[in-house]
Amino acid sequence: MKRKNKIYLLPLLGLLVFTQSCTKNYKDVNTNKNAIATIGPSTLPFLFTHAEDVATVNAGNYQVAQNLFADQYCQYFACEATYFGSDRLVINQNWVGANFNPYYTDVLPQLQTIFANTDSTSAQHAMAEVVWVLAFMKVTDYWGPIPYFSAGSVATSVPYDPQDKIYADFFHRLDGAIAVLNTHKGENAFGSYDIIYGGDVTKWLKFANSLRLRLALRVSKADPTTAKAEAEASVAGGVMTASPADDAFIARSSTGGDVNGLSIMSDWNEFRMSATMASVLKGYQDPRISQYFLPTDKSGDPTPGKFANYAGLRNGLSVAQQTQPQNLAAANSHQGARWSSTSVTVGGTIVGLASYTNTPQNVMETAESYFLRAEGALLGWNMGGSAQSLYESGIRNSMAQWGITGAAVDTYIASANTPVAPGDFLNSPAVSNVPIAWSADPNVQLQQIMTQKWLALYPDGMEAWADWRRSHVMKLYPAANSDNVLIPDPSVKWLRRIPFLTTERQNNPDGVATGVSALGGTDNELVPLWWDKNP
């Protein structure tokens, strides 16, 4: 038996040797070789690119963040797909979260890392501040109160902050950023990693001032004093004045996650020109129509300017109406050629572009600054020009932005044309009677400015919808049908905001509770935002 015991020890000996050498290289094994573990100076600029990419609504989010909601609610497009109810005013919260979540996961961490790793007096820091405002403005303008001041730290709940406080912070950040950018004029920051201006600080300064001007007008009813001061400071500081040189466009690629978001939807045929667009563009004989939209395939005539060949449909058609021949995608105008793939044809001719997915995407353009100034001028602010001259410059710059110059623009500005009946399935009347030529009537003047601004902002539905809710001057058609039980009659009630997300109610209930109380106790589509002082 004694001898046997020795043998028992053999396995134990083996195990001992084994366990000695066991886990030495485990850390290396458990390191992802295809990812980056830490961020340093050489990788920081890539974070800026990513923040810009997502802050401007990138391709992965574009449809569900913007196209199904803001783009349809501002009536640039009407819905063709029967399976989306948003055009009939039902908000699918699974989708609209795309205008919330990415800003927190893909913009905020990148920018906070830049803030933490750059000098607060550097141009990089200031540019990151501008992107921050650009991003969170889109979020708060959908929901109102949002998680803001406590965002970015890991916790089981993040409180929501009231919109007025958030706007105050926007101004604070922009004021600071503009001061810093002023000290770096003529310099370059982030170089080619800045895919909006290629690092041109001077242009960033104009952009920051223009953005501040936009915010000022947004709060012009809620906080007129701040609005006036910030707007005048912006104009004095230098806003965008010349299109296309000053325009902010973000580069998009032909592959990957940052292709042009509108282009990516070209072949889905889920939306078309709205009847509102048809009424205004056709009524005004607006030359931009051939840039914004394509003639219908049925017309067989791709000649630009043949207004009869463009068709739009009303927002909010029922499924039964949507499936009528006149309302089908093929019978209505597709978005313009620059956002169309080569499979888009008119009359058998390919009109789409091979490069359509890297069409630069609108961020903010010069024309808007002029219209903002025109509106400010009507309010009596010092905007460096008369309302009429700023209005007309707005039109000229918008036309220039789309490549339209010369006599046609002069003719247009002088035209007494008004919107027409779009000739849609519901035989809608003209959406309004506002002419192009500057009116003597101050009430009409404001409508003119807002109508032209609405045209100029295309296809940035995000800004157009916020602007429409704020001003509520430009006329839109009421949704043809509402599936929303809170809005039985869309001609008297309209969507004022997006209710808090279901995912937020599930994952951040305490935070949402602070949001509901900041709203005044009710969280639904009919609660106006802080800057929305309309009845």
Partner: protein
């Protein structure tokens, strides 16, 4: 080398310690009369003396003889006892005959350890290889297990031939998210071949309705012809030695090897034909159009809400005059008759010292989807060799080459099945299949006009099958070399090295004009190279001793080194500069990605079984793992303990009861988690500018813990009337804790999810097997085997931070399976018809139902659970002289299946359920939101379009009870008489069939007022993919009915 030499010296030393042969001895070897295999562990007792010995692994024994002439009693479980008179000093060669009572069935358990089933403390069920090779499951040999072993739920993915599948034993227990390289369901049973877990991962599967590329799994290319035995170990205890992966139970497969002194050549040849077994039910009365009117422009509105088809003249999708009449087979004809050819030859040879087995198998199959075919070659070579008395070598090499063409995508997008279902009812197969494309002056194909319900998503299925090509080329090498050294007659050590390397090349080619993927001109192309390498090294000591009189012990101790590597390189281009030239050379937008992961696990384990009087067995095991995904010290332990008592050996039982055993066990197993989640990472994306870098939105879990499954089990095994009737029952109870759960964080933290260890999922259930031979005469036998199981699942705890966890199905198109506290795994949630507080149905002012998806922020409602509550299977085998007849009836009871396919097709008036109320008159007499009655009649079109909303509907209307019982398998065989003089030893011809007909089918769950219930039409065995997204089908492939013939010759 140094380490090896040291070990060798140690072994030699150990040998010299052994001294044999004091006085008179008798030596001998014991082998099986039939198989000629040594009978290890046989007991040799000298009659009338208290002297006994045990045969070693080679069947050899030495026993001392008290007198010159003794009577030896040789016994071994599974063999009839034998008495032999022998002289001292004699050398005996003893053969044992199989005990017809089958008591001592030998099963292969974990790590290739052979155990007598009577000693097992847990449930183990063997499945005869003939049950796998008789009526074959074309896609995956595991499909043949349905109904043949208790508590086995098999679901086939929809990627066509060779597509990944799921095999779940004893219910679902894990929600572990897909990790890099494996999207397969984390509840999949572990497949062990020749002692080593094989790679059974699936790198791509759909986790929602949208669909996906569905890749093959690792089990599908196992050749059932090479299987010698198969054991289903359902419980964690049985599998504890496999550690982390074994919580789901194990399928233990042992492959064939050569036998001593025998040469066998087995040739098997089979042919099978397949047709769809369960297709949606289509209406054939109304054609394309809207509101009862024929569509004015056929290429635009593809729904079948048109006029009654009466041979009217209309303009078809090609703008030609055509006849508006039904084509009831326009979908059936799309599906081809599948063909499967299975040819294998296996040669088994054996000398005294060395035996070998060689086989070659060719599987060729044509799928029911046009252009989908599979060609698989399997070479298998195994050699076992006795180098000398001490050393034996066992080595094997398997090489698999598999080429799959024309894989269909699953789900909805670019999926041919959905495309064909979506065509209007008056289109003929001929018109559709011959006019799907036109060629331009450059001979480039362009899609012709096509009448579909949604022209921007659904394309001509014929375009899709002809002009999309998804191929998967797989090369796989599996091999092992194992050396066994008998240190002493009672202690041996075995070292093995195993390699399983799978290399897949997946090419996806979408011709210009194909919807959805081609956002740029020229077409799109992607090539993905996936390499999975499993390396497994082990060294195991095995011993047995008599501790005292009547007290025996056998034990194992060992070390395992297990390394799993995954690498994925994808190169793709959206856009080709030369149209439809599918090579990266022509790429207009080349993009590349690289992904990979590695998991290293090292383990030490020990196991011992103590037997008293061959009647009471106490079994214990302990294992420690060091797993690389875990933080330092990377380690966790898990024990198991079990007891088995053979009451029939201890107490007097009624005469009719020939055997009675009870057993109990407790076990804990762990799961080491997924790699790279303990620290933050940043990913780079190619794109505009110089590309961009984003932080992973998942908050790391630096203190990651292993998942744990704790289980206990009680079993009884009883046999009656000389074992004519056998009965086993097992109750099991398992709790899975410390689940790795990605819980959502408030996104305002900057992170979307956070991994935590949490939860307590409970499964408990009962398994009963009954087998018997009601008739047993010389010419005629009738054997019955019945398997029954029930499983109950409960989510005892999830985490306080998380109310529910979705198992896929983003956006709730039709339904979302989820896990929530108090519910059960795979509860399905979806939108429903809204009711008020009184339970009255709310209708809109036009009389259509108000569904909850029209209410902003409405919560999803519970629809049912997607898992079966009970599973059953009954096999009847009749043998009359040379004829045999075998059939299997199996089924499932309980659980629901949500048909997204029907939801979508109902919207378009395509399905049969849309026939009633076409002309109107459907009045629900509901109430409006204020409770006022609404008396409005609507049409079928109004109803179904409201209920289904096409792609994002109210799942409640399309929910079916998945209960079904079917004639699963049928075979009729004849043993052709062969003369003794020919070289053929036996020849058997059989006719086989699979999925013959339904016996019982469930009904739709929701009784729609005025419309009523419909009968289940789809096969719950089919799923979109093989991930966690189950219980919802959305364009799943129809299952197939197989008819075939098989010829097996033994030379």
């Amino acid at each position: 080398m140094i380490k090896d030499s040291v070990l060798l010296v140690l072994f030699l030393l150990a040998c010299s310690c052994m001294v044999f042969g004091q006085g008179r001895t008798i030596k001998g070897t014991i082998s099986d009369e039939n198989s000629k295999q040594p009978v290890a562990g046989a007991t040799i007792v000298v009659k009338g003396a208290r002297i006994s010995a045990t045969a070693d692994a080679n069947g050899a024994f030495t026993i001392s003889a008290p007198t010159d002439r003794v009577t030896l009693v040789i016994s071994s479980v599974g063999f009839a006892p034998k008495e032999i008179t022998a002289e001292a000093g004699q050398s005996l060669t003893i053969t044992l005959a199989t005990d017809t009572r089958q008591l001592g069935e030998v099963v292969v358990t974990a790590l290739g350890i052979t155990r007598q089933s009577k000693t097992l403390v847990y449930a183990a069920q063997t499945v005869a290889p003939s049950q796998l090779t008789g009526v074959r499951s074309t896609d995956n040999f595991l499909g043949s297990l349905s109904g043949k072993a208790a508590n086995v739920q098999f679901t086939q993915g929809s990627g066509g031939l060779g597509s990944g599948a799921i095999l779940i034993l004893r219910g679902n227990r894990s929600i572990a998210p897909p990790s890099s390289g494996n999207s397969a369901n984390p509840n999949n049973a572990l497949i062990v071949v020749d002692g080593v877990p094989i790679n059974n991962t699936t790198f791509a599967t759909g986790n929602n309705d949208f669909g996906s590329l569905q890749s093959s799994d690792g089990a599908s290319d196992i050749n059932p012809d090479d299987i010698e035995s198969m054991t289903v170990l359902r419980g964690a205890s049985a599998a504890a030695l496999y550690g982390s992966q074994a919580g789901n139970g194990v399928i233990v497969v042992t492959t064939k090897k050569g036998h001593k002194g025998r040469t066998d050549v087995i040739v098997n040849s089979g042919i099978g034909f397949e047709r769809p077994f369960a297709l949606p039910q289509f209406q054939n009365s109304y054609g394309q159009g809207n509101g009862g009117v024929i569509a004015s422009d056929s290429s635009q509105s593809g729904a079948s809400w048109g006029a009654k088809m009466q041979g009217q003249s209309y303009v078809d999708f090609l703008y030609k005059r055509n006849t508006y009449s039904p084509h009831p087979d326009n979908i059936k004809k799309f599906f081809k008759t599948g063909l499967s050819l299975n040819n294998s030859v296996g040669v088994s040879m054996g000398g005294d010292k060395s035996q070998s087995y060689f086989s070659y198998t060719n599987n060729y199959a044509k799928g029911i989807i046009p252009h989908n075919d599979l060609n698989r070659h399997i070479f298998d070579y195994r050699i076992t060799s006795e180098l000398n008395k001490k050393f034996t070598v066992d080595a094997k090499a398997t090489y698999i080459l598999q080429i799959i063409n024309g894989k269909p995508r699953t789900g909805e997008e670019n999926a041919p099945v959905f495309d064909v279902y979506q065509q209007p009812r008056q289109i003929s197969y001929e018109e559709a299949s011959q006019n799907f494309q036109t060629f331009d002056a450059f001979q480039i194909a362009h899609p012709a006009n096509w009448a579909s319900t949604n022209n921007s998503i659904y394309q001509s299925p014929y375009w899709m099958t002809n002009n999309t090509s998804i191929t998967e080329n797989r090369e796989r090498a599996i091999g092992f070399a194992s050396l066994k050294y008998n240190i002493t007659p009672w202690l041996s050590v075995r070292g093995s090295a195993n390699l399983d390397r799978t290399s897949d090349e997946i090419q996806q080619k979408y011709q210009q004009g194909t919807l959805l993927w081609n956002t740029n001109a020229g077409g799109s192309y992607a090539v993905t190279d996936v390499v999975m390498t499993n390396k497994w090294l082990d060294a195991i000591f095995e011993g047995r001793n008599d501790l005292a009189k009547d007290l025996k012990i056998n034990y194992h101790a060992g070390v395992i080194y297990y390394d799993r590597l995954y690498a994925n390189n994808t190169a793709s281009t959206n856009g080709l500069n030369v149209i439809n030239k599918f090579s990266l050379n022509f790429a207009s937008n080349p993009a590349t990605t690289q992904d990979g992961s590695e998991i290293l696990t090292e383990s030490v384990f020990g196991q011992a079984s103590i037997g008293w009087r061959d009647a009471i067995f106490l079994d214990g095991s302990f294992r420690t793992d060091w797993a690389s995904p875990l933080p330092a010290p990377h380690t966790f332990n898990y024990p198991s303990l079990g007891l088995s008592v053979l009451l029939s050996e201890l107490v007097a039982l009624p005469k009719s009861m020939s055997f009675l055993k009870v057993n109990a066990n407790y076990a804990k197993v762990g799961n080491g988690g997924i790699p790279y989640i303990t620290s933050a990472t940043y990913q780079y994306d190619q794109g505009a500018g110089n590309g961009s870098i984003q932080r992973s939105p998942t908050y790391p879990i630096p203190n990651l813990k292993p998942e744990q499954v704790t289980s206990y089990e009680f079993g009884v095994d009883a046999r009656f009337i000389n074992d004519r009737i056998g009965f086993t029952a097992t109750y099991y109870h398992a709790n899975s804790k410390e689940q790795l759960v990605p819980i959502p964080l408030p996104v305002a933290t900057g992170y979307a999810t956070q991994y935590i260890n949490a939860g307590n999922f409970e499964n408990h259930g009962l398994e009963i097997t009954i087998n018997g031979s009601p008739i047993k005469t010389r010419d005629f036998t009738w054997d019955v085997q019945l398997n029954f199981s029930l499983n109950r699942n409960k989510i005892v705890e999830l985490t306080p931070e998380l109310k529910q966890f979705y198992l896929g199905g983003a956006d709730a198109r039709s339904g979302q399976p989820e896990v929530a506290k108090g519910g059960a795994f795979g509860d399905l949630y979806g939108y429903v018809w809204a009711t008020n507080s009184k339970g009255q149905y709310i209708v809109n002012s036009d009389g259509t139902p108000l569904t909850t998806n029209k209410v902003t922020g409405a919560d999803l409602s519970f629809l049912g659970n997607g898992n079966a509550r009970e599973l059953l299977g009954m096999t009847n085998t009749f043998q009359y002289k040379r004829f045999s007849l075998n059939f299997l009836i199996d089924g499932r009871i309980g659980g629901i299946l949500l048909s997204g396919t029907e939801m979508n097709l109902s919207f378009s008036g395509i399905t049969k359920n849309t026939l009633a109320f076409r002309e109107g008159g459907l009045n629900f007499h509901g109430v409006d939101v204020n409770g006022a009655p609404v008396d409005k009649a609507i049409t079928a079109q109004q109803f179904w379009t409201t209920a289904s909303l096409q792609r994002y509907g109210a799942g409640q209307f399309f929910t079916y009870s998945a209960t079904n019982i079917r004639m699963r398998e049928f075979s009729f065989g004849y043993d052709i008489p062969v003369k003794n003089t020919t070289i053929i030893k036996s020849l058997r011809l059989s006719a086989v069939a699979r999925n013959l007909f339904w016996i019982v089918r469930g009904k739709s769950v929701f009784d729609i007022p005025g419309i009523g219930k419909r009968t289940l039409w789809m096969d719950p065995d089919m799923s979109n993919g093989n991930g966690l997204f189950q219980g919802v089908e959305y364009g799943a492939l129809p299952s197939t009915r197989t008819l075939g013939f098989n010829l097996k010759a033994n030379f």
